[in-house]
């Protein structure tokens, strides 16, 4: 890992990235400075952790740019705070240099905001601050070495059992380590025990579940639930060096050997940090949580920003204006109520009531949309981490690849956006590792030596399509079949029945390991099934397209937000369903004789277009004849067909026949993760009377990528 990245030619800091950085840095610096002052008054581990995180996050953001003086100072500050967290340094000693760091970082941030670069003299000031850290932490290049010998402290509770197990160790001081890897660390490519392995002086090791095990039926093998405790004769500085990339997940203590550890003393000891295993990120968030990777190009922005949200001022203004309108609408309704109380005839009040209802309905829908908009963030915040990640990966693999980003301005719900980083990183690593051929192979194939990888985002109605495309060797269906057969993923006859698309889809099968050819890069991640699982968790889908020799495209289709959808309600028999209004072009009643049977289907002509007619009951697989239809004439079909004309795909019209139109509804559509695989369903919505309706997805209902209707 290089902590001071070389300048990155070809990646000039973009104005909007700098603006983003400045806004974030201001917040972090302000919050950390407040916390530091609190730390001066009392050493609270939680506050210390917050300061550490803020500094660490800020450092991560700075590392995206070429501001070495700022990076060095923040790095030293992080080391200092890390030493304080480990109990090797009194937190109070760090307050002054940390404040000096933040003060300098604050001034530099303003200079960056004004000029796009660090001010003159920043390097000299950085050197002065680094000297203070060196004085505190002991010698080390740029203050990075936290080699100060830790003062022997009391034995933390988590280490006392281990000490008893290890027996007397007269050889000198021991370092005890508690390491609770993040739940999603496997996904980031971490192998926690591989770090432990690098301690030559290991004398005792224990593994515990970090949280009580979940029942085996819900076993998630890619969620790490381990707490590692160990004792080693390695000095704290050496231990720290091994675990430096996961510093926020470890607690260390130095233990002076005693012939027989006194359990009372051990139990009375205070751990240097809260010794309760850190539960890690909320498992429900899955891979959404932030992580650090070896290249350190990532920041803890995600976790921190759970607490604060930067919002465009215009959006707040719009919200306030809507709230004002809503208050006015309620006042108008209040007048109607007053008239009703005064005895006005209900029939006379009806128009005013309707108008009030309509106005409040419109305003509340708008208010909801604006409020949800607060959660939207441009994908640039995620995409901007990739140029550096790609560079590192390509260099490791000795390949050449260029990355193009497209659609960074596309907005997406922040939870969804943040959950995308891990899967996308995996896809980019895969593309470089398995997709892009070595330069000479590319030359022979008539391709430019540098592979091209494109990361794209595009908004499509209420979804966002994010794709990773490479121009590499593509997937070889024959190889995939062979591998699937070897692994016994499918019975031979099922395998034989797969078409090419189905074959390519095999890469998503759990257990379709690419272990045989993993390199150091993608082998550190997990399989494509984890990428698809991540997409599903986010309420989306993941598909792949590949052409041998031409390249591979993996597409993630994700919900843009939890939307308040305007729905058209349609009835089939006793049931009602919601159709998103935005997909509905118009409603039509068409005499039955104008619907022509054409081969296997039916069609009619509307406004000069031939429009296929599909029965909703058939699309939903409803057994039509079992429905109570006694109210209809014996010939079964009404003389007029009620058609909802939907616009799908590239603008084609499709008519869907329903039994009746049943009104409109505005509602919050809840996705159905468990049913995500069922084409045609978008989710559920709660009606005013508490009933649950299924909401249909026009695109897949009539044959989008996963549908069957029009293939």
């Amino acid at each position: 890992m290089t902590d001071t990245p070389p300048p990155t030619p070809g990646l000039p800091p973009l104005d909007d990235l700098v603006a983003d950085f400045v806004a974030e840095a201001r917040e972090l610096i302000e919050a950390a400075a407040e916390d530091l002052l609190a730390l001066d008054a009392a050493a609270d581990p939680a506050v210390l952790n917050r300061v550490f995180r803020a500094v660490h996050t800020l450092k991560g953001s700075v590392a995206l740019f070429d501001w070495p003086a700022m990076l060095a100072v923040l790095h030293a500050a992080e080391d200092g705070l890390s030493a304080a967290r480990a109990g090797r340094l009194p937190a109070a000693d760090l307050v002054d240099p940390s404040l000096a760091t933040l003060d300098a970082a604050g001034r530099w941030t303003e200079a960056i905001a004004a000029t796009g670069r660090l001010p003159d003299g920043a390097a000299a000031e950085a050197e002065r601050i680094l000297a203070r850290y060196r004085a505190l932490l002991g010698p080390g290049e740029d203050g990075a070495g936290s080699a100060a010998p830790a003062p022997p402290g009391p034995v933390p509770r988590w280490a006392s059992d281990l000490l008893a197990e290890a027996g007397p160790h007269p050889d000198g001081a021991l370092t005890a380590l508690l390491y609770v890897p993040r739940a999603d660390c496997f996904f980031a490519g971490d192998d926690p025990l591989a770090l432990v392995r690098r301690l030559p002086g290991l004398v005792a090791l224990r593994l515990h579940p970090a949280a009580p095990w979940l029942p085996v039926e819900t076993l998630d093998v890619f969620a790490c639930n381990l707490a590692v405790t160990l004792l080693t004769t390695d000095a704290p500085a050496e231990v720290d060096a091994v675990f430096r990339l996961v510093r926020d997940q470890i607690t260390t203590a130095t233990i002076v050997p005693t012939a027989a550890p006194d359990p009372d003393a051990a139990n009375g000891a205070r751990p240097t940090r809260d010794a309760a295993p850190d539960p890690g990120p909320d498992p429900a968030r899955g891979a959404d949580a932030d992580q650090r990777s070896d290249t350190d190009q990532r920041s803890d922005t995600d976790q921190r920003s759970d607490r604060t949200l930067r919002v465009d001022a215009a959006r707040v203004d719009a919200l306030v204006a809507l709230a004002d309108d809503l208050a006015a609408a309620r006042a108008a309704l209040g007048e109607v109520v007053a008239r009703a109380v005064a005895g006005t005839d209900l029939a006379d009040l009806l128009p005013a009531l309707r108008a009030g209802d309509e106005r409040i309905g419109r305003l509340s829908a708008e208010l909801h949309r604006e409020a949800l908009g607060l959660r939207l963030q441009p994908l640039a915040r995620i995409f901007r981490r990739f140029p550096r990640a790609l560079r590192d990966v390509a260099r490791q693999l000795g390949k050449q690849a260029t990355l193009t980003l497209d659609g960074e301005a596309t907005e997406l719900d922040r939870d969804v956006a943040e959950g995308l980083f891990e899967p996308l990183l995996h896809l980019v690593r895969n593309a470089v590792d398995h997709g892009i051929e070595p330069p000479e192979a590319r030359r022979l194939a008539g391709k430019p030596e540098a592979g091209r990888i494109a990361l794209r985002a595009e908004a499509r109605a209420d979804r966002v399509v994010v794709s990773v495309e490479d121009d590499g060797r593509g997937l070889d269906p024959a190889f995939l079949r062979r591998r699937a057969a070897e692994r016994g993923l499918l019975a031979p006859d099922a395998l034989a029945a797969l078409d090419e698309a189905g074959t390519i889809d095999l890469i998503f099968a759990p257990g379709f390991s690419t272990a045989a050819e993993v390199g150091t890069v993608s082998g550190r991640g997990v399989g494509m099934d984890a990428v698809r699982a991540a997409a599903t968790r986010l309420g989306g889908t993941c598909t792949v397209e590949s052409r041998a020799g031409r390249g591979t495209t993996v597409r993630l289709v994700l919900p843009r937000t939890r939307t308040l959808a305007r729905l058209l309600l349609v009835g089939i028999g006793p049931e009602r369903y919601g159709l998103p209004m935005e997909a509905v072009v118009e409603l039509a009643r068409v005499p039955r004789e104008r619907i022509q049977s054409l081969g296997t289907g039916a069609a009619t002509v509307l406004r000069g277009r031939t429009v296929p007619v599909l029965a909703l009951s058939a699309l939903l697989g409803l057994p039509r004849e079992e429905l109570p239809r006694n109210d209809l004439p014996r010939n079964d079909l009404p003389e007029e067909a009620r058609l909802a004309i939907l616009r799908v795909g590239g603008g084609d019209w499709v008519a869907v026949e329903v039994d009746r139109f049943a009104g409109r509804l505005d509602g919050l559509v809840q996705p159905l993760p468990a049913l995500a695989a069922l084409p045609g369903l978008a989710g559920t919505v709660l009606t005013g009377d508490g009933a649950v309706l299924l909401v249909l997805d026009a695109e897949t209902l009539v044959g989008g990528p996963d549908g069957e209707g029009r293939a």
């Binding site: 971490d190 224990r206 515990h208 095990w213 093998v221 790490c224 272990a515 550190r524 991640g525 399989g527």
Partner: protein, 86 residues
Amino acid sequence: MSVRRDGELIRLEGACPVEEAETLAALLLAEPGLGVEWSACTGLHTALVQVLLRLRPPLHGTCGDPFAARWLAPVLAAPRAPSEPG
């Protein structure tokens, strides 16, 4: 191939990367009585260690990875703590 079923045993062979955790868990869950033979295993990712720790299959042989043989085998062979569900 690094995780495979061989009669009444699941064999771990070579370096077992993180992806194999899924395969290992699937095999163990499908047939809980199976033992795991790991003498040809030259290294295993933490995710697999976690599967072994969670499902506690009987381990056969001495792991071919000295680190695992020295440090992980005792942990995986230790009796289950009373708080751990079966």
